[in-house]
Symmetry: C2
Subunit: 280 residues, 2 copies
């Protein structure tokens, strides 16, 4: 993909990082940024001095690629506002953490107005907002594309090529499969890290080593966004919580019985799985 113009709406951590990374990856491309909040324009201008920056949805005009950085709940209104400025060749994508319900809402809105494919970059940090954006945020990060039967090969290929240019490792799967897998690998860890922090409380924090620090890092992520994500993927996440509880009961029972053999097998099994994760 070699876009002449990319427009990024709602540039927070992810949208801002896309803007920074795209500026490096496509030096000849016009980068256009649209924020709803006029007060954030100066900060964006400092970070992206070459970009066109404004508050009007008309910034989507003539874009080859439109990236929607909003949380899922704000997407329908955002999409409606940009419809007049899209063309049937514009490729529109998002960065939502759950896909099936977003697909059901957004695909019909864009149908006939633009090409659409869902994206989920598995990159981020416990920080939020454009001030936390980094040009290398997607370097080696998985980005999951969620084509459906309605997605053309061209659309999938161009979206793949775009994210690859930003350094990402692109995977593709149905929105349904995405939601099931992401529940296990991202939403469950978030909820469990939160539960851990609440359980450990504040009193023991001075004793915390790098184990606690890493295990709970994501629990300091923005609560409103994560509430939306966790509830947005509720059915799949509940299924993961159920599996977690079964395993938790197994582990607890091994500990209650001081059953070193079973406990050791469980720890060993986890070690074995975790060590297959490729290094970053």
């Amino acid at each position: 993909m070699n876009p002449a113009k990319i427009t990024i709406f709602a540039p927070g951590l992810i949208g801002g990082s896309v803007a920074l990374a795209a500026t490096q990856a496509f030096p000849k491309t016009k980068i256009s940024i649209c924020t709803r909040r006029p007060e954030s324009v100066p900060a964006i201008r400092t970070m992206l001095p070459q970009a066109e920056i404004g508050t009007s949805p008309s910034l989507a005009s003539h874009a080859d690629l439109v990236l929607l950085g909003s949380p899922p709940s704000a997407l329908p209104e955002l999409v409606r506002s940009i419809l007049p400025f899209l063309s049937p060749t514009t490729l529109v994508t998002d960065v939502s953490s759950f896909k099936e319900s977003v697909e059901k809402t957004i695909a019909p809105l864009l149908f006939g107005h633009a090409r659409w494919i869902g994206s989920h970059p598995m990159a981020g940090s416990e920080h939020s907002g454009i001030s936390a954006a980094r040009a290398d945020l997607f370097h080696q990060a998985p980005v999951i594309l969620t084509p459906t039967a309605a997605t053309s090969t061209d659309t999938l290929e161009q979206a793949t090529s775009f994210w690859q240019a930003l350094g990402a490792r692109v995977l593709s799967m149905t929105p349904q499969l995405h939601d099931a897998q992401i529940a296990r690998i991202s939403h469950l860890p978030h909820l469990i890290a939160t539960t851990l922090v609440l359980t450990a409380g504040s009193d023991s924090l001075p004793l915390a080593g790098s184990g606690y620090r890493d295990t709970t890092r994501i629990a300091s992520g923005p609560a409103p966004l994560w509430t939306e994500i966790l509830i947005g993927n509720q059915p799949e996440l509940l299924a993961s919580l159920k599996t977690f509880r079964t395993t938790f009961d197994q582990v607890t029972s091994a500990l209650e019985n001081k059953d070193a053999s079973t406990l050791s097998k469980l720890l060993d099994q986890a070690t074995h799985i975790r060590r297959t994760l490729p290094s970053p």
Copy 2:
């Protein structure tokens, strides 16, 4: 503390790192390393070319400080083997992750032979063995000393000064309080990270981002050592698991009811606690 000789027994990740850090912190001190395994002598020699290295417990002779790097289960035998080489002024300490039962076993063995205080450096990594040792492992890491009514002020002060010289942030508390707090802040996170890995399984690993990576890092630690640690602190860890389960049920119920207000409050509370953790 300005020791003329330090002897380190069973140099793995922790003992090896103590040797490296002490070599830097006390350049005039003789560092002596004792391993039970003759085959590891060459690797230790490469890492610590200035040290005296051997396999005999007599290496403890004339040491001002003896550090026992063994897992708790191996401590009694190790301590018995070095008793003939200790003097009443020798300061002996360990690095065990649970303290009350170690205290009950080790303090009586050393009584009248040497001075004793338990240490627990909250530093480590998912890697083990001396090859993972680092001179800066204790830099800013909490080290918890566990004095009892039998511990002299001198002993506590010297142990404090020793770990501080290695860069650590030293805390002190009773073995009982240590075990309760460490259950919450270290042993519980380990068990939960393990449960998470087992729940998420292998299929979704290609989608894993930095959240999963950090949350589960400690689950790749050595299973035999962790089995011993978790069972060694079983009563306190079971209490933590019980609290965890209560909070887990609260979180699950909020999600089941799509109760965004409660879920958001829980996430916010965790964010608030987690953000009070000082940066490393």
